[in-house]
Assembly symmetry: C2
Homo-oligomer: 315 residues x 2
Protein backbone atom coordinates (compact mmCIF):
# COMPACT_ATOMS: atom_id res chain seq x y z
CA UNK A 1 0.00 0.00 0.00
CA UNK A 2 2.96 2.28 0.56
CA UNK A 3 3.87 1.69 -3.05
CA UNK A 4 0.29 2.41 -4.10
CA UNK A 5 0.16 5.74 -2.29
CA UNK A 6 3.67 6.78 -3.23
CA UNK A 7 3.59 5.71 -6.83
CA UNK A 8 0.83 3.53 -8.29
CA UNK A 9 -2.04 5.97 -7.70
CA UNK A 10 -0.08 8.58 -9.59
CA UNK A 11 0.77 6.13 -12.35
CA UNK A 12 -2.87 5.26 -12.96
CA UNK A 13 -3.65 8.91 -13.62
CA UNK A 14 -0.53 9.59 -15.63
CA UNK A 15 -1.07 6.83 -18.17
CA UNK A 16 -3.99 8.80 -19.59
CA UNK A 17 -1.91 11.93 -20.10
CA UNK A 18 1.54 10.71 -21.11
CA UNK A 19 3.46 7.98 -22.87
CA UNK A 20 4.33 6.12 -19.71
CA UNK A 21 7.06 3.61 -18.88
CA UNK A 22 7.02 1.51 -15.71
CA UNK A 23 10.12 -0.47 -14.80
CA UNK A 24 10.43 -3.52 -12.56
CA UNK A 25 13.81 -2.96 -10.89
CA UNK A 26 15.01 -6.54 -10.51
CA UNK A 27 18.71 -5.63 -10.55
CA UNK A 28 18.24 -2.97 -7.90
CA UNK A 29 16.29 -5.48 -5.84
CA UNK A 30 19.32 -7.77 -6.02
CA UNK A 31 21.44 -4.99 -4.53
CA UNK A 32 20.12 -5.79 -1.08
CA UNK A 33 19.08 -9.37 -1.77
CA UNK A 34 22.40 -10.55 -3.12
CA UNK A 35 22.07 -14.07 -1.84
CA UNK A 36 18.35 -14.42 -2.45
CA UNK A 37 17.83 -14.25 -6.21
CA UNK A 38 14.81 -16.56 -6.03
CA UNK A 39 12.98 -13.97 -3.94
CA UNK A 40 13.78 -11.28 -6.49
CA UNK A 41 12.72 -13.56 -9.34
CA UNK A 42 9.39 -14.38 -7.69
CA UNK A 43 8.74 -10.76 -6.82
CA UNK A 44 8.94 -9.70 -10.45
CA UNK A 45 5.60 -11.39 -11.15
CA UNK A 46 4.21 -10.14 -7.82
CA UNK A 47 5.08 -6.55 -8.66
CA UNK A 48 3.58 -7.02 -12.11
CA UNK A 49 0.41 -8.33 -10.48
CA UNK A 50 0.25 -5.29 -8.20
CA UNK A 51 0.55 -2.93 -11.14
CA UNK A 52 -2.02 -4.67 -13.28
CA UNK A 53 -4.48 -5.26 -10.40
CA UNK A 54 -4.42 -1.56 -9.50
CA UNK A 55 -5.39 -0.57 -13.01
CA UNK A 56 -2.15 0.22 -14.77
CA UNK A 57 -3.12 -0.76 -18.27
CA UNK A 58 -0.56 -2.43 -20.53
CA UNK A 59 -2.30 -0.86 -23.52
CA UNK A 60 -1.50 2.58 -22.15
CA UNK A 61 1.69 1.92 -20.20
CA UNK A 62 4.88 0.21 -21.38
CA UNK A 63 6.18 -2.15 -18.70
CA UNK A 64 9.75 -3.38 -18.71
CA UNK A 65 12.16 -5.43 -16.63
CA UNK A 66 15.43 -3.69 -15.80
CA UNK A 67 17.72 -6.66 -16.41
CA UNK A 68 16.28 -7.17 -19.90
CA UNK A 69 17.64 -3.80 -21.03
CA UNK A 70 21.44 -4.11 -21.38
CA UNK A 71 21.67 -0.46 -22.44
CA UNK A 72 20.90 0.53 -18.83
CA UNK A 73 24.10 -1.21 -17.74
CA UNK A 74 26.03 0.39 -20.59
CA UNK A 75 24.83 3.88 -19.63
CA UNK A 76 25.65 3.21 -15.98
CA UNK A 77 29.26 2.44 -16.86
CA UNK A 78 29.55 5.75 -18.71
CA UNK A 79 27.84 7.72 -15.94
CA UNK A 80 30.17 6.31 -13.27
CA UNK A 81 32.88 8.57 -14.73
CA UNK A 82 30.74 11.66 -14.19
CA UNK A 83 30.11 11.23 -10.46
CA UNK A 84 32.63 11.37 -7.63
CA UNK A 85 32.67 8.88 -4.80
CA UNK A 86 32.29 11.69 -2.30
CA UNK A 87 29.22 12.96 -4.16
CA UNK A 88 27.62 9.53 -3.86
CA UNK A 89 28.31 9.43 -0.15
CA UNK A 90 26.63 12.81 0.29
CA UNK A 91 23.38 11.63 -1.36
CA UNK A 92 20.82 12.10 1.47
CA UNK A 93 18.66 9.14 0.42
CA UNK A 94 21.66 6.84 0.25
CA UNK A 95 23.05 8.16 3.56
CA UNK A 96 19.71 7.54 5.18
CA UNK A 97 19.41 4.02 3.81
CA UNK A 98 23.00 3.17 4.75
CA UNK A 99 22.15 4.18 8.31
CA UNK A 100 18.81 2.34 8.27
CA UNK A 101 20.34 -0.89 6.98
CA UNK A 102 23.35 -0.51 9.28
CA UNK A 103 25.94 -0.77 6.49
CA UNK A 104 29.48 -0.04 7.60
CA UNK A 105 32.54 -1.80 6.18
CA UNK A 106 30.14 -4.15 4.40
CA UNK A 107 28.68 -1.39 2.21
CA UNK A 108 28.80 -2.81 -1.30
CA UNK A 109 29.81 -0.91 -4.40
CA UNK A 110 26.44 -1.87 -5.86
CA UNK A 111 24.55 -0.15 -3.08
CA UNK A 112 26.63 3.03 -3.19
CA UNK A 113 26.27 3.22 -6.97
CA UNK A 114 22.56 2.57 -7.20
CA UNK A 115 21.59 6.23 -7.68
CA UNK A 116 23.72 6.22 -10.83
CA UNK A 117 22.04 3.04 -11.99
CA UNK A 118 18.69 4.79 -11.43
CA UNK A 119 19.75 7.72 -13.58
CA UNK A 120 20.42 5.21 -16.34
CA UNK A 121 16.93 3.71 -15.81
CA UNK A 122 15.40 7.13 -16.30
CA UNK A 123 17.51 8.45 -19.13
CA UNK A 124 17.55 5.27 -21.21
CA UNK A 125 14.00 6.06 -22.34
CA UNK A 126 14.71 9.83 -22.34
CA UNK A 127 12.01 10.33 -19.71
CA UNK A 128 10.80 13.91 -19.22
CA UNK A 129 8.87 13.33 -16.03
CA UNK A 130 9.54 10.96 -13.15
CA UNK A 131 6.78 10.49 -10.58
CA UNK A 132 8.52 10.24 -7.21
CA UNK A 133 8.02 10.64 -3.52
CA UNK A 134 9.83 13.59 -1.94
CA UNK A 135 12.33 11.17 -0.39
CA UNK A 136 13.46 10.41 -3.93
CA UNK A 137 14.22 14.01 -4.89
CA UNK A 138 17.97 13.56 -4.31
CA UNK A 139 17.85 10.91 -7.05
CA UNK A 140 16.34 13.38 -9.50
CA UNK A 141 18.96 15.92 -8.46
CA UNK A 142 21.63 13.32 -9.25
CA UNK A 143 19.99 12.78 -12.63
CA UNK A 144 20.12 16.50 -13.36
CA UNK A 145 23.82 16.61 -12.56
CA UNK A 146 24.71 13.64 -14.72
CA UNK A 147 22.58 14.75 -17.68
CA UNK A 148 23.94 18.30 -17.57
CA UNK A 149 27.55 17.11 -17.21
CA UNK A 150 27.15 14.59 -19.98
CA UNK A 151 25.51 16.98 -22.42
CA UNK A 152 28.04 19.71 -21.62
CA UNK A 153 31.19 17.56 -21.76
CA UNK A 154 30.16 15.72 -24.92
CA UNK A 155 28.49 18.76 -26.53
CA UNK A 156 25.27 16.93 -27.21
CA UNK A 157 21.61 16.85 -26.37
CA UNK A 158 21.53 13.06 -26.38
CA UNK A 159 20.27 12.97 -22.81
CA UNK A 160 17.04 14.51 -21.55
CA UNK A 161 16.92 16.17 -18.14
CA UNK A 162 14.01 14.64 -16.24
CA UNK A 163 11.70 16.62 -14.01
CA UNK A 164 10.28 15.26 -10.76
CA UNK A 165 6.55 14.89 -10.50
CA UNK A 166 5.96 14.72 -6.77
CA UNK A 167 2.97 12.67 -5.73
CA UNK A 168 0.56 14.41 -3.35
CA UNK A 169 0.95 11.80 -0.62
CA UNK A 170 4.44 10.72 -1.20
CA UNK A 171 4.98 8.29 1.60
CA UNK A 172 2.85 6.22 3.89
CA UNK A 173 4.19 5.51 7.38
CA UNK A 174 4.41 1.87 8.41
CA UNK A 175 1.82 0.29 10.69
CA UNK A 176 4.34 0.83 13.50
CA UNK A 177 4.22 4.58 12.87
CA UNK A 178 7.89 4.56 11.97
CA UNK A 179 9.57 5.75 8.79
CA UNK A 180 7.91 4.59 5.63
CA UNK A 181 6.10 1.35 5.02
CA UNK A 182 8.55 -1.23 3.73
CA UNK A 183 8.74 -4.96 3.33
CA UNK A 184 12.06 -5.21 5.09
CA UNK A 185 10.73 -3.35 8.16
CA UNK A 186 7.80 -5.77 8.54
CA UNK A 187 5.43 -2.82 8.91
CA UNK A 188 3.64 -3.09 5.59
CA UNK A 189 0.11 -3.85 4.42
CA UNK A 190 0.10 -5.62 1.07
CA UNK A 191 -2.27 -5.17 -1.82
CA UNK A 192 -2.56 -8.96 -1.71
CA UNK A 193 -3.42 -9.14 2.01
CA UNK A 194 -6.71 -10.82 2.88
CA UNK A 195 -9.41 -8.85 4.67
CA UNK A 196 -8.49 -10.69 7.89
CA UNK A 197 -4.81 -9.92 7.52
CA UNK A 198 -5.62 -6.23 7.02
CA UNK A 199 -7.85 -6.27 10.13
CA UNK A 200 -5.11 -7.86 12.18
CA UNK A 201 -2.48 -5.39 11.02
CA UNK A 202 -4.70 -2.37 11.64
CA UNK A 203 -5.66 -3.67 15.10
CA UNK A 204 -1.97 -3.71 16.09
CA UNK A 205 -1.28 -0.32 14.55
CA UNK A 206 0.67 2.37 16.37
CA UNK A 207 -1.56 5.13 17.82
CA UNK A 208 -0.63 7.13 20.92
CA UNK A 209 1.12 5.10 23.64
CA UNK A 210 -0.05 7.61 26.31
CA UNK A 211 -3.69 7.14 25.27
CA UNK A 212 -4.35 4.30 27.68
CA UNK A 213 -7.97 4.78 28.78
CA UNK A 214 -10.72 5.80 26.33
CA UNK A 215 -11.25 8.97 28.37
CA UNK A 216 -7.60 10.03 28.02
CA UNK A 217 -6.89 12.83 25.52
CA UNK A 218 -5.02 11.33 22.56
CA UNK A 219 -2.43 12.66 20.14
CA UNK A 220 -3.45 12.88 16.50
CA UNK A 221 -0.05 13.83 15.18
CA UNK A 222 2.17 10.82 14.57
CA UNK A 223 -0.83 8.55 15.13
CA UNK A 224 -0.64 6.07 12.25
CA UNK A 225 -4.40 5.38 12.24
CA UNK A 226 -5.16 9.06 11.57
CA UNK A 227 -2.42 9.22 8.96
CA UNK A 228 -4.09 6.37 7.11
CA UNK A 229 -7.56 7.90 7.52
CA UNK A 230 -6.21 11.15 6.06
CA UNK A 231 -5.11 9.26 2.98
CA UNK A 232 -7.92 6.75 2.47
CA UNK A 233 -11.07 8.10 4.15
CA UNK A 234 -13.08 9.95 1.51
CA UNK A 235 -15.07 11.80 4.21
CA UNK A 236 -12.58 14.49 5.27
CA UNK A 237 -15.13 16.28 7.50
CA UNK A 238 -15.85 13.22 9.57
CA UNK A 239 -12.12 12.55 9.92
CA UNK A 240 -11.70 16.11 11.26
CA UNK A 241 -14.42 15.66 13.85
CA UNK A 242 -12.91 12.30 14.90
CA UNK A 243 -9.58 14.06 15.38
CA UNK A 244 -11.19 16.73 17.56
CA UNK A 245 -12.96 14.12 19.65
CA UNK A 246 -9.78 12.02 20.04
CA UNK A 247 -7.75 15.06 21.12
CA UNK A 248 -10.27 15.97 23.82
CA UNK A 249 -10.54 12.39 25.06
CA UNK A 250 -13.44 9.96 25.04
CA UNK A 251 -12.74 8.25 21.72
CA UNK A 252 -11.16 4.80 21.82
CA UNK A 253 -8.57 3.41 19.40
CA UNK A 254 -10.72 0.40 18.60
CA UNK A 255 -13.53 2.51 17.13
CA UNK A 256 -11.08 4.30 14.90
CA UNK A 257 -9.33 1.08 13.88
CA UNK A 258 -12.62 -0.60 12.94
CA UNK A 259 -13.45 2.40 10.75
CA UNK A 260 -10.02 2.17 9.09
CA UNK A 261 -10.35 -1.59 8.55
CA UNK A 262 -13.63 -1.05 6.67
CA UNK A 263 -12.19 1.74 4.58
CA UNK A 264 -9.02 -0.17 3.68
CA UNK A 265 -10.88 -3.35 2.87
CA UNK A 266 -13.37 -1.45 0.70
CA UNK A 267 -10.48 0.08 -1.14
CA UNK A 268 -8.57 -3.18 -1.43
CA UNK A 269 -11.43 -5.52 -2.33
CA UNK A 270 -11.61 -4.80 -6.11
CA UNK A 271 -7.80 -4.83 -6.34
CA UNK A 272 -7.71 -8.10 -4.43
CA UNK A 273 -10.26 -9.70 -6.76
CA UNK A 274 -8.49 -8.59 -9.89
CA UNK A 275 -5.14 -9.63 -8.42
CA UNK A 276 -6.27 -13.13 -7.59
CA UNK A 277 -7.74 -13.54 -11.08
CA UNK A 278 -4.51 -12.42 -12.70
CA UNK A 279 -2.45 -14.55 -10.32
CA UNK A 280 -3.95 -17.62 -11.96
CA UNK A 281 -2.14 -16.70 -15.16
CA UNK A 282 1.41 -15.66 -14.24
CA UNK A 283 2.49 -16.37 -17.83
CA UNK A 284 0.25 -13.52 -18.98
CA UNK A 285 1.88 -11.16 -16.48
CA UNK A 286 5.36 -12.17 -17.62
CA UNK A 287 4.27 -11.76 -21.21
CA UNK A 288 3.19 -8.17 -20.52
CA UNK A 289 6.55 -7.44 -18.87
CA UNK A 290 8.59 -9.14 -21.58
CA UNK A 291 6.81 -7.69 -24.59
CA UNK A 292 7.10 -4.22 -23.06
CA UNK A 293 10.81 -4.91 -22.55
CA UNK A 294 11.13 -5.65 -26.28
CA UNK A 295 9.69 -2.23 -27.06
CA UNK A 296 11.98 -0.53 -24.55
CA UNK A 297 15.06 -2.30 -25.89
CA UNK A 298 14.45 -0.56 -29.19
CA UNK A 299 13.96 2.85 -27.57
CA UNK A 300 17.08 2.18 -25.46
CA UNK A 301 19.14 1.25 -28.49
CA UNK A 302 18.20 4.56 -30.09
CA UNK A 303 19.34 6.37 -26.93
CA UNK A 304 22.60 4.38 -26.82
CA UNK A 305 23.20 5.16 -30.45
CA UNK A 306 22.94 8.90 -29.69
CA UNK A 307 25.16 8.43 -26.64
CA UNK A 308 27.78 6.40 -28.52
CA UNK A 309 27.88 9.08 -31.16
CA UNK A 310 28.43 11.80 -28.53
CA UNK A 311 31.14 9.85 -26.66
CA UNK A 312 32.72 8.83 -29.97
CA UNK A 313 32.25 5.17 -29.24
CA UNK A 314 30.61 4.78 -32.64
CA UNK A 315 32.95 2.58 -34.60
Amino acid sequence: MGHYVGSLANRIELQNKYQQYVMVADLQALTDNIDNPQKVHDNVVQVGLDYLACGIDPNKTTFFIQSLIPQIAELTILYLNLVTVSRLKRNPTVKNEIQQKGYKEDLTAGFLMYPIHQVADITVVKANLVPVGDDQLPMIEQAHEIVRNFNRIYQTNALVEPQALISKTSRLVGTDGKAKMSKSMGNAIYLSDSADAVAKKVMSMYTDPLHVKVSDPGRVEGNAVFTYLDVFDPNKEEVQSLKDHYSKGGLGDVVLKRRLIDILNNFLEPIRIKRSQLAKDPAYVMDVLKSGSEVVRQVAEKTMSDVRHAVKLNY
Copy 2:
Protein backbone atom coordinates in the same frame (compact mmCIF):
# COMPACT_ATOMS: atom_id res chain seq x y z
CA MET B 1 57.56 -0.28 -25.74
CA GLY B 2 56.48 -0.67 -22.13
CA HIS B 3 53.32 -2.28 -23.42
CA TYR B 4 55.37 -4.51 -25.69
CA VAL B 5 57.59 -5.76 -22.89
CA GLY B 6 54.79 -6.05 -20.35
CA SER B 7 52.23 -7.63 -22.60
CA LEU B 8 52.62 -7.82 -26.37
CA ALA B 9 55.75 -10.01 -26.40
CA ASN B 10 53.89 -12.48 -24.25
CA ARG B 11 50.81 -12.26 -26.45
CA ILE B 12 52.76 -13.10 -29.59
CA GLU B 13 53.95 -16.34 -28.00
CA LEU B 14 50.63 -17.20 -26.42
CA GLN B 15 48.60 -17.03 -29.61
CA ASN B 16 50.34 -20.17 -30.80
CA LYS B 17 49.44 -22.12 -27.68
CA TYR B 18 45.99 -20.91 -26.69
CA GLN B 19 42.71 -19.55 -27.96
CA GLN B 20 43.57 -15.95 -27.27
CA TYR B 21 41.44 -12.84 -26.81
CA VAL B 22 42.88 -9.34 -26.85
CA MET B 23 40.67 -6.45 -25.76
CA VAL B 24 40.99 -2.76 -26.58
CA ALA B 25 39.80 -1.10 -23.36
CA ASP B 26 38.17 2.03 -24.74
CA LEU B 27 35.75 2.42 -21.82
CA GLN B 28 38.54 2.12 -19.28
CA ALA B 29 40.54 4.66 -21.27
CA LEU B 30 37.59 7.04 -20.89
CA THR B 31 37.83 6.65 -17.12
CA ASP B 32 40.75 9.05 -17.01
CA ASN B 33 40.02 10.85 -20.28
CA ILE B 34 36.44 11.77 -19.50
CA ASP B 35 36.47 15.00 -21.45
CA ASN B 36 38.64 13.79 -24.28
CA PRO B 37 36.67 11.08 -26.11
CA GLN B 38 38.27 11.96 -29.45
CA LYS B 39 41.67 10.94 -28.05
CA VAL B 40 40.23 7.64 -26.88
CA HIS B 41 38.53 7.10 -30.23
CA ASP B 42 41.72 7.79 -32.18
CA ASN B 43 43.79 5.59 -29.89
CA VAL B 44 41.64 2.57 -30.63
CA VAL B 45 43.09 2.34 -34.13
CA GLN B 46 46.58 3.19 -32.81
CA VAL B 47 46.44 0.36 -30.29
CA GLY B 48 45.17 -1.98 -33.00
CA LEU B 49 48.09 -0.91 -35.20
CA ASP B 50 50.56 -1.66 -32.39
CA TYR B 51 49.14 -5.15 -31.91
CA LEU B 52 49.10 -6.02 -35.59
CA ALA B 53 52.50 -4.48 -36.31
CA CYS B 54 54.12 -6.50 -33.53
CA GLY B 55 52.85 -9.74 -34.97
CA ILE B 56 49.65 -10.48 -33.13
CA ASP B 57 47.82 -12.31 -35.85
CA PRO B 58 44.07 -11.85 -36.24
CA ASN B 59 43.86 -15.39 -37.59
CA LYS B 60 45.14 -16.71 -34.29
CA THR B 61 43.93 -14.06 -31.86
CA THR B 62 40.42 -12.67 -31.44
CA PHE B 63 40.51 -8.91 -30.99
CA PHE B 64 37.61 -7.00 -29.53
CA ILE B 65 36.62 -3.52 -28.43
CA GLN B 66 35.32 -3.28 -24.87
CA SER B 67 32.42 -0.91 -25.58
CA LEU B 68 31.09 -3.20 -28.31
CA ILE B 69 30.37 -5.93 -25.74
CA PRO B 70 27.33 -4.84 -23.67
CA GLN B 71 27.55 -8.03 -21.62
CA ILE B 72 30.69 -6.64 -19.95
CA ALA B 73 28.58 -3.78 -18.59
CA GLU B 74 25.85 -6.20 -17.52
CA LEU B 75 28.33 -8.39 -15.63
CA THR B 76 29.88 -5.33 -14.00
CA ILE B 77 26.51 -4.31 -12.57
CA LEU B 78 26.07 -7.77 -11.03
CA TYR B 79 29.63 -7.86 -9.67
CA LEU B 80 29.25 -4.47 -7.97
CA ASN B 81 27.05 -6.24 -5.43
CA LEU B 82 29.82 -8.68 -4.55
CA VAL B 83 32.52 -6.16 -3.66
CA THR B 84 32.57 -3.70 -0.78
CA VAL B 85 33.61 -0.09 -1.16
CA SER B 86 36.31 -0.60 1.48
CA ARG B 87 37.69 -3.58 -0.44
CA LEU B 88 38.01 -1.42 -3.55
CA LYS B 89 39.85 1.26 -1.62
CA ARG B 90 42.31 -1.34 -0.31
CA ASN B 91 43.26 -2.51 -3.84
CA PRO B 92 47.03 -1.76 -3.97
CA THR B 93 47.05 -0.97 -7.70
CA VAL B 94 44.12 1.42 -7.35
CA LYS B 95 45.63 3.02 -4.21
CA ASN B 96 48.88 3.53 -6.05
CA GLU B 97 47.19 5.06 -9.09
CA ILE B 98 44.98 7.30 -6.97
CA GLN B 99 48.15 8.66 -5.35
CA GLN B 100 49.98 8.96 -8.68
CA LYS B 101 47.12 10.84 -10.32
CA GLY B 102 46.56 12.93 -7.21
CA TYR B 103 42.85 12.07 -6.88
CA LYS B 104 41.22 13.30 -3.70
CA GLU B 105 37.64 14.51 -3.49
CA ASP B 106 37.53 14.33 -7.28
CA LEU B 107 37.97 10.54 -7.35
CA THR B 108 35.24 9.31 -9.67
CA ALA B 109 33.10 6.26 -9.11
CA GLY B 110 34.30 5.02 -12.50
CA PHE B 111 37.91 5.05 -11.42
CA LEU B 112 37.27 3.33 -8.09
CA MET B 113 35.18 0.65 -9.80
CA TYR B 114 37.49 -0.10 -12.67
CA PRO B 115 38.93 -3.28 -11.14
CA ILE B 116 35.40 -4.69 -11.11
CA HIS B 117 34.95 -3.68 -14.73
CA GLN B 118 38.19 -5.52 -15.49
CA VAL B 119 36.91 -8.67 -13.84
CA ALA B 120 33.95 -8.48 -16.20
CA ASP B 121 36.35 -8.07 -19.16
CA ILE B 122 38.12 -11.26 -18.14
CA THR B 123 35.19 -13.42 -17.15
CA VAL B 124 32.91 -12.48 -20.04
CA VAL B 125 34.97 -14.80 -22.27
CA LYS B 126 35.56 -17.27 -19.38
CA ALA B 127 39.30 -16.70 -19.65
CA ASN B 128 41.50 -19.27 -17.91
CA LEU B 129 44.76 -17.38 -18.17
CA VAL B 130 45.42 -13.65 -18.05
CA PRO B 131 48.88 -12.45 -19.06
CA VAL B 132 49.74 -9.61 -16.68
CA GLY B 133 52.57 -7.65 -15.18
CA ASP B 134 53.13 -8.21 -11.46
CA ASP B 135 51.66 -4.77 -10.78
CA GLN B 136 48.36 -6.18 -12.04
CA LEU B 137 48.23 -9.13 -9.64
CA PRO B 138 45.79 -7.34 -7.30
CA MET B 139 43.36 -7.27 -10.24
CA ILE B 140 43.60 -11.04 -10.63
CA GLU B 141 43.11 -11.40 -6.89
CA GLN B 142 39.95 -9.30 -7.20
CA ALA B 143 38.80 -11.57 -10.02
CA HIS B 144 39.33 -14.65 -7.84
CA GLU B 145 37.22 -13.13 -5.07
CA ILE B 146 34.36 -12.17 -7.34
CA VAL B 147 34.31 -15.46 -9.23
CA ARG B 148 34.44 -17.52 -6.03
CA ASN B 149 31.76 -15.41 -4.35
CA PHE B 150 29.53 -15.52 -7.39
CA ASN B 151 29.85 -19.27 -7.94
CA ARG B 152 29.33 -19.96 -4.23
CA ILE B 153 26.38 -17.62 -3.67
CA TYR B 154 24.57 -18.65 -6.85
CA GLN B 155 25.62 -22.30 -6.64
CA THR B 156 26.96 -22.39 -10.15
CA ASN B 157 30.09 -22.85 -12.17
CA ALA B 158 29.03 -20.20 -14.67
CA LEU B 159 32.18 -18.20 -14.02
CA VAL B 160 35.73 -19.41 -14.55
CA GLU B 161 38.47 -18.39 -12.11
CA PRO B 162 41.33 -16.94 -14.15
CA GLN B 163 44.98 -17.57 -13.39
CA ALA B 164 47.65 -14.93 -13.80
CA LEU B 165 50.38 -15.59 -16.31
CA ILE B 166 53.13 -13.24 -15.23
CA SER B 167 55.35 -12.02 -18.03
CA LYS B 168 59.09 -12.46 -17.45
CA THR B 169 59.81 -8.76 -17.75
CA SER B 170 56.66 -7.35 -16.46
CA ARG B 171 57.41 -3.65 -16.53
CA LEU B 172 59.82 -1.38 -18.27
CA VAL B 173 60.96 1.73 -16.41
CA GLY B 174 60.44 5.03 -18.17
CA THR B 175 63.30 6.84 -19.91
CA ASP B 176 63.50 8.99 -16.76
CA GLY B 177 64.24 5.86 -14.72
CA LYS B 178 61.06 6.42 -12.72
CA ALA B 179 58.14 4.08 -12.23
CA LYS B 180 56.90 2.41 -15.38
CA MET B 181 56.87 3.79 -18.85
CA SER B 182 53.60 5.52 -19.48
CA LYS B 183 52.12 7.98 -21.91
CA SER B 184 50.87 10.28 -19.20
CA MET B 185 54.33 10.50 -17.56
CA GLY B 186 55.97 11.60 -20.84
CA ASN B 187 58.74 9.02 -20.32
CA ALA B 188 57.74 6.55 -23.03
CA ILE B 189 59.26 5.31 -26.27
CA TYR B 190 56.58 4.45 -28.83
CA LEU B 191 56.52 1.58 -31.27
CA SER B 192 55.71 4.25 -33.84
CA ASP B 193 58.69 6.51 -32.94
CA SER B 194 61.09 7.27 -35.78
CA ALA B 195 64.74 6.20 -35.51
CA ASP B 196 65.65 9.81 -34.75
CA ALA B 197 63.03 10.12 -32.05
CA VAL B 198 64.32 6.95 -30.41
CA ALA B 199 67.90 8.27 -30.57
CA LYS B 200 66.87 11.53 -28.97
CA LYS B 201 64.95 9.81 -26.16
CA VAL B 202 67.77 7.38 -25.41
CA MET B 203 70.33 10.20 -25.41
CA SER B 204 68.37 11.96 -22.66
CA MET B 205 67.82 8.77 -20.68
CA TYR B 206 68.40 8.57 -16.95
CA THR B 207 71.70 6.84 -16.04
CA ASP B 208 73.63 7.64 -12.86
CA PRO B 209 73.63 11.32 -11.91
CA LEU B 210 76.91 10.86 -9.97
CA HIS B 211 78.66 9.45 -13.05
CA VAL B 212 79.92 12.81 -14.29
CA LYS B 213 83.30 12.07 -15.86
CA VAL B 214 83.94 8.98 -18.01
CA SER B 215 86.55 7.86 -15.49
CA ASP B 216 84.04 7.93 -12.58
CA PRO B 217 82.70 4.58 -11.40
CA GLY B 218 79.01 4.36 -12.33
CA ARG B 219 75.99 2.66 -10.83
CA VAL B 220 74.38 -0.10 -12.86
CA GLU B 221 71.41 -0.59 -10.59
CA GLY B 222 68.60 1.86 -11.33
CA ASN B 223 70.41 2.93 -14.50
CA ALA B 224 67.72 2.94 -17.15
CA VAL B 225 70.13 2.31 -20.01
CA PHE B 226 71.27 -0.97 -18.45
CA THR B 227 67.71 -1.92 -17.66
CA TYR B 228 66.87 -1.56 -21.34
CA LEU B 229 70.01 -3.41 -22.42
CA ASP B 230 69.04 -6.26 -20.07
CA VAL B 231 65.73 -6.52 -21.86
CA PHE B 232 66.63 -5.88 -25.48
CA ASP B 233 70.33 -6.72 -25.96
CA PRO B 234 70.55 -10.32 -27.18
CA ASN B 235 74.25 -10.54 -26.16
CA LYS B 236 73.97 -11.04 -22.40
CA GLU B 237 77.72 -11.67 -21.98
CA GLU B 238 78.69 -8.37 -23.52
CA VAL B 239 76.12 -6.58 -21.39
CA GLN B 240 77.70 -8.14 -18.30
CA SER B 241 81.18 -7.00 -19.28
CA LEU B 242 79.85 -3.50 -19.99
CA LYS B 243 78.31 -3.47 -16.53
CA ASP B 244 81.64 -4.48 -14.97
CA HIS B 245 83.47 -1.81 -16.92
CA TYR B 246 80.91 0.86 -16.04
CA SER B 247 81.08 -0.02 -12.33
CA LYS B 248 84.86 0.26 -12.29
CA GLY B 249 84.85 3.53 -14.22
CA GLY B 250 86.16 4.41 -17.65
CA LEU B 251 83.00 3.74 -19.66
CA GLY B 252 80.99 6.74 -20.77
CA ASP B 253 77.19 6.99 -20.99
CA VAL B 254 77.31 8.00 -24.64
CA VAL B 255 78.94 4.72 -25.73
CA LEU B 256 76.26 2.76 -23.91
CA LYS B 257 73.48 4.93 -25.27
CA ARG B 258 74.68 4.56 -28.85
CA ARG B 259 74.67 0.80 -28.40
CA LEU B 260 71.12 0.94 -27.01
CA ILE B 261 69.95 3.18 -29.86
CA ASP B 262 71.18 0.63 -32.40
CA ILE B 263 69.58 -2.26 -30.57
CA LEU B 264 66.24 -0.52 -30.12
CA ASN B 265 66.13 0.69 -33.69
CA ASN B 266 67.03 -2.78 -34.99
CA PHE B 267 64.24 -4.18 -32.90
CA LEU B 268 61.76 -1.46 -33.89
CA GLU B 269 62.52 -1.20 -37.60
CA PRO B 270 60.42 -4.17 -38.83
CA ILE B 271 57.60 -3.17 -36.49
CA ARG B 272 57.84 0.41 -37.74
CA ILE B 273 57.66 -0.68 -41.38
CA LYS B 274 54.70 -2.96 -40.81
CA ARG B 275 53.00 -0.29 -38.72
CA SER B 276 53.34 2.39 -41.36
CA GLN B 277 52.01 0.01 -44.04
CA LEU B 278 49.00 -0.86 -41.90
CA ALA B 279 48.45 2.77 -40.97
CA LYS B 280 47.58 3.47 -44.59
CA ASP B 281 44.52 1.28 -44.18
CA PRO B 282 42.87 2.15 -40.85
CA ALA B 283 39.61 0.67 -42.15
CA TYR B 284 41.29 -2.74 -42.21
CA VAL B 285 42.39 -2.32 -38.60
CA MET B 286 38.88 -1.34 -37.52
CA ASP B 287 37.50 -4.27 -39.46
CA VAL B 288 39.75 -6.68 -37.54
CA LEU B 289 38.61 -5.16 -34.24
CA LYS B 290 34.95 -5.12 -35.18
CA SER B 291 34.72 -8.58 -36.66
CA GLY B 292 36.46 -9.97 -33.57
CA SER B 293 33.94 -8.08 -31.45
CA GLU B 294 31.14 -9.86 -33.31
CA VAL B 295 32.63 -13.21 -32.34
CA VAL B 296 33.10 -12.12 -28.73
CA ARG B 297 29.54 -10.85 -28.48
CA GLN B 298 28.37 -14.39 -29.14
CA VAL B 299 30.73 -15.89 -26.58
CA ALA B 300 29.66 -13.17 -24.14
CA GLU B 301 25.99 -13.88 -24.70
CA LYS B 302 26.59 -17.53 -23.83
CA THR B 303 28.31 -16.43 -20.61
CA MET B 304 25.48 -14.02 -19.78
CA SER B 305 22.97 -16.74 -20.42
CA ASP B 306 24.71 -18.97 -17.85
CA VAL B 307 24.94 -16.04 -15.46
CA ARG B 308 21.29 -15.06 -15.90
CA HIS B 309 20.30 -18.63 -15.21
CA ALA B 310 22.37 -18.69 -12.01
CA VAL B 311 21.07 -15.32 -10.74
CA LYS B 312 17.53 -16.28 -11.80
CA LEU B 313 17.26 -13.35 -14.15
CA ASN B 314 16.18 -15.75 -16.90
CA TYR B 315 12.61 -14.78 -17.66
